[in-house]
Symmetry: C2
Subunit: 301 residues, 2 copies
């Protein structure tokens, strides 16, 4: 199961009890942290996100509301005796910023801390469970979105047929892997006669901060869910353009053109106390839109 | 009036809804911020501390729980169009750490941001209302405490006597300043016959992070209130010593020997869910001890 838990849904300045950007993508027991605004570790405690299960952190860009909480989290991992390696992905200066702060505090992490510098679109993580890649967005400074693609699962045994044919249990895993079964007498049982197709792997894309830009579409095309920023309502298009941000209808337009299934919107400007109009406006263009609300978990279906 | 509002009373890792160190010293309409752990700006919103009234920030040392919230606050001041100059005092690497983060975000502050590097004990601010100075404490890395000394106020007019002698109102301010009044006929009315002494200026000391060290006593001697860390209960003296922190009885001992009026204790370790034992232990040595509780304001009497 792939899901996303929102820890912060606000833009630059905290307001109305909304916090700066951070979200946790959970897949198969692993928590991947995407962005880490100030106070993220406190939000994690509040929403019972298990910090110990975080092995990868992805930072989209170096505006403070997307990473000022990172050094505190790295430091807390140390004080909490985190043991597994931590991989941090972000634009080039991030490593120097963090290391400088650890150095002046005379701190050495008790776990392996690996920095990976983002420079262009590409694959960051690729194992038998998930592929995570990044792409450039169009923001005032260098900025990256992230795509999480679950690998296709195992084929499903049609257990009644399997039993009827007396296939021994020791062959179940090779059936799940797609191999045919050959009986002791040499007869071939075709795989698809006793198994069903595996569930398609889900795809989620975090589109970071960006102005309206259709060049991101190839990266997020056909995703089951995307998160796209909507800093402003649609009557603020000029301001959005000027600040390299998007409006409700622009985010929804991207979702529509990219043929995604669901759109999650967030990164709301501190000028808005009430968020309902964001959902209403976006839904006029793309009906399956939902507000990203702090503490909520959104399953990718 | 001199008062202290607690924004964070916990040590290193946030826990039990307690936050890292930060407090606001308020005097005559100005807010002086002392330390700025992660989430301080959010605590300010929660406890209705007026950010716009902050002109000076004092950072005791560069362990993250004392300054990771500073860059976010500086950034928010910018986004909120703060206009008055901001003076930041802290150990040497602080300026480089903050400036590096502003630079990678391509941010120029819209207000004057002045860094003042602490290198030794001395006076930092001295005007007609207050004197603020710093002193070294004994911690694992370079660390400073801060002393706030209110200047003595004006002498108080004994208004009935003043009226009886028909002293014109235009002379009231010189009487308050301590001058004698000379009647049109040349008779001298001695100042102290028509005024009472000004109220003594109050003194508050923030003792930062420190192991038990009597060398701080001359700096905080006779203060009306001090804040002294008590990271641990007294059965943890060895650990406290090892980590350059203090226990309840050690803090109380310093308060007693420094002849202060009131002791405020904080910087509680995340291992303690309940704080009452801190107060109980400290009071056995120094009775006028109070826990520093987040959101509470303590007047310096």
């Amino acid at each position: 199961m792939l899901s996303v838990t929102i820890l912060g849904n606000n833009s630059a300045v905290p307001a109305f009890n909304r916090h700066p950007t951070s979200q946790v993508v959970t897949h198969d027991g692993t928590n991947y942290l995407v962005d880490c605004g100030e106070g993220t570790q406190i939000q994690m405690i509040k929403y019972k996100v298990r910090r110990g299960r975080i092995s990868h952190i992805f930072i989209s860009h170096l505006h403070g509301d997307h990473y000022y909480g990172l050094v505190g989290l790295i430091n807390s991992f140390n004080l909490l005796s985190h043991s597994q390696p931590l991989h941090v992905y972000g634009p080039a200066p991030l490593q120097a910023i963090i290391e400088m702060q650890l150095k002046v505090a005379d701190t050495l992490t008790c776990y392996d801390l690996h920095f990976h510098t983002l420079t262009e679109a590409g694959v960051l993580v690729d194992n038998d469970k998930i592929r995570i890649s990044c792409f450039r967005t169009n923001h005032r400074i260098e900025c990256y979105g992230f795509v999480f693609e679950e690998k296709e699962g195992k084929r499903k045994l049609q257990i009644e047929k399997v039993r009827k044919l007396h296939i021994p249990m020791t062959f179940y895993s090779s059936l799940q892997a797609g191999l045919d079964y050959i009986t002791p007498k040499g007869k071939v049982i075709p795989n698809d006669s006793v198994t069903a197709a595996a569930e398609r792997g889900k795809k989620y894309a975090f589109c970071a901060d960006t102005k309206y830009d259709e060049s991101i579409i190839p990266h997020i095309y056909g995703a089951d869910m995307i998160y796209h920023e909507t800093t402003y309502l649609d009557n603020m298009r000029e301001k959005a353009e000027l600040r390299f941000h998007s409006t409700t209808r622009q985010a929804a337009e991207i979702a529509r053109k990219a043929m995604v299934r669901k759109l999650l919107i967030g990164h709301f400007s501190s000028k808005y106390a009430v968020l309902d109009p964001f959902q209403e406006e976006a839904r006029e263009v793309f009906s399956n839109t939902e507000l990203a609300i702090e503490g909520n978990t959104y399953e990718v279906h």
